[in-house]
Subunit: 340 residues, 2 copies
Amino acid sequence: MKAAKNKKILLAHGGGGRLTEQLIRHNILPKLRNDVLAKLGDSAKLDFHSESLFFTTDSYVVKPLFFNGGDIGKLAVCGTINDLAVAGARPLALSLSLIIEEGFEFAKLDKILDSIGQTAKENNVDIVTGDTKTVEAGGVDEIFINTAGVGESIEGVELGLDKLEATDKVIINGSIGDHGLSVMSQREGLEFQTELLSDCAGLGGLIGQLLENTDGVKFMRDATRGGLAATLSEISSGSKLNIEIHEKNIPIKPSVQAAADMLGFDILTIANEGKFVAIVKPESADDFVKICKAHPLGKETSIIGKVTESSGEPTVRLITKIGGKRIIQMPYGRELPRIC
Amino acid sequence: MKAAKNKKILLAHGGGGRLTEQLIRHNILPKLRNDVLAKLGDSAKLDFHSESLFFTTDSYVVKPLFFNGGDIGKLAVCGTINDLAVAGARPLALSLSLIIEEGFEFAKLDKILDSIGQTAKENNVDIVTGDTKTVEAGGVDEIFINTAGVGESIEGVELGLDKLEATDKVIINGSIGDHGLSVMSQREGLEFQTELLSDCAGLGGLIGQLLENTDGVKFMRDATRGGLAATLSEISSGSKLNIEIHEKNIPIKPSVQAAADMLGFDILTIANEGKFVAIVKPESADDFVKICKAHPLGKETSIIGKVTESSGEPTVRLITKIGGKRIIQMPYGRELPRIC
């Protein structure tokens, strides 16, 4: 019950790491107890007239609102589509709720709405319901957006951490750290020779193709807040299995690595907005990678490691480029406020 | 295209009146064009495997967070339940997204979460998915909450403004203005002999009973932002029929009237959080009222008027207590910031 000691909310409580987990497990879950919520999946899976209905929500508070590779609107649409997709669902419809500061420029609002409309269209998902609130100047920083989403199951697909076994492959669909370091660099006013670009993208199309054409996918999660480190930690602790990944196989852009080094961040803990981690049975891994590489959002897909048996506390291990071993822990959570 | 003239967002754009309507119709809808959203119902109605799926969202920014009769947590659960219920749906599950200011006290958060849990339980709805974000001090005022909700249709029930006819009765389930004036009075530090109490309540139970036991309900809407005036204006303009209501039949608590007079508000434009307006065919009206009056949330139910033919611009008319006539217009929207 560590959370009880903190009398006040810290920024780190929203960082997607250990403090977020404590807040959820110690403060939120006990008050709202039910079996669906307790699973803490990317989406809730509900029984709806003998079909499965997937349901998810996210609020977006990213700063700055416009960043290289996207904006808060694109992020809000992609983020919720991705939470449905990685749960094994076909995204059907989104809600959109805006909280806008008095004095916010219509020009900016229009640009964000354009982006929302275009991203929804590209991802073949309609915004079907919404809400708009205004708050006095100073009550909110420019604009916050919430999207919720509903989806339907893809026939024959059932994902779950309980399906994981030793020898399963760990696959990521491209380079890590791009989103978080793009946003942070812009916020800090840093410039690099190569412009950093957020990977913000809707993964519904690619994941749909994967789930419809390979039968060996066991689990997926988008590596957002807390980055690859948090995602792998959750997979390991949830499945009670170890994960072993190879540093040399993790795609990282040199400019992103340079930014991480300059800002003092561990790139494994940095948020991504267009990357999933998939756990795939070994005999399906090659097909999976092939489909990914043929898709614009998966050209750099890489098998980064595998699931292994655990005899004690489930652990994520990184084999470094020089052959050393490093334990990857769930990040504490203070790294990056307002990155998504 | 009046909205285009305003270069910046005004508080009134969130007031639920004419400016909100302009913002939605001129700035938001054109960017997100689709048939379901264009209906602007309290909930979207989607086809889902030959069943109807209802989907809605609302963000809550009420200030103060704790008010007589409720708090932001209770409001967030009830508001979304009510948006589903008035659309003719049985609320099934909610999402919960918190945006919390750094430094917010855990004691307050726990109180709000208690309230959310208890209200969800009382209304027989689970919170099944969620999100938690933190924002630096000053980036958000204490805490904002978004809830989205999904629901299923109640057999045989189909509500719509296209079903309205002259002679249909206009019914409200109790006194108006209680929520908005309770919150405003508390914010302004006003005290009255009788304590003002928000009417914040989940209407799913009462509306479920009504829809399952009477077949004459044609349309319902909860009279929140913009109050009874906005709700009746929307019903009139959406159905292209006139509405005539009698001031003497509108339940108003004397203390609420006193507060409205003191603060200079037209009570018809004040937000309610536990009141619906129902349009019911005449021969079902007595049964409808009877069921309401037997329920704790409908004891003061009153038939306040009727639908009449319109030969020109659809109009809402109030017959005053002394027999005069007053046109009720869609409020402009500036009245009450952060009331829900």
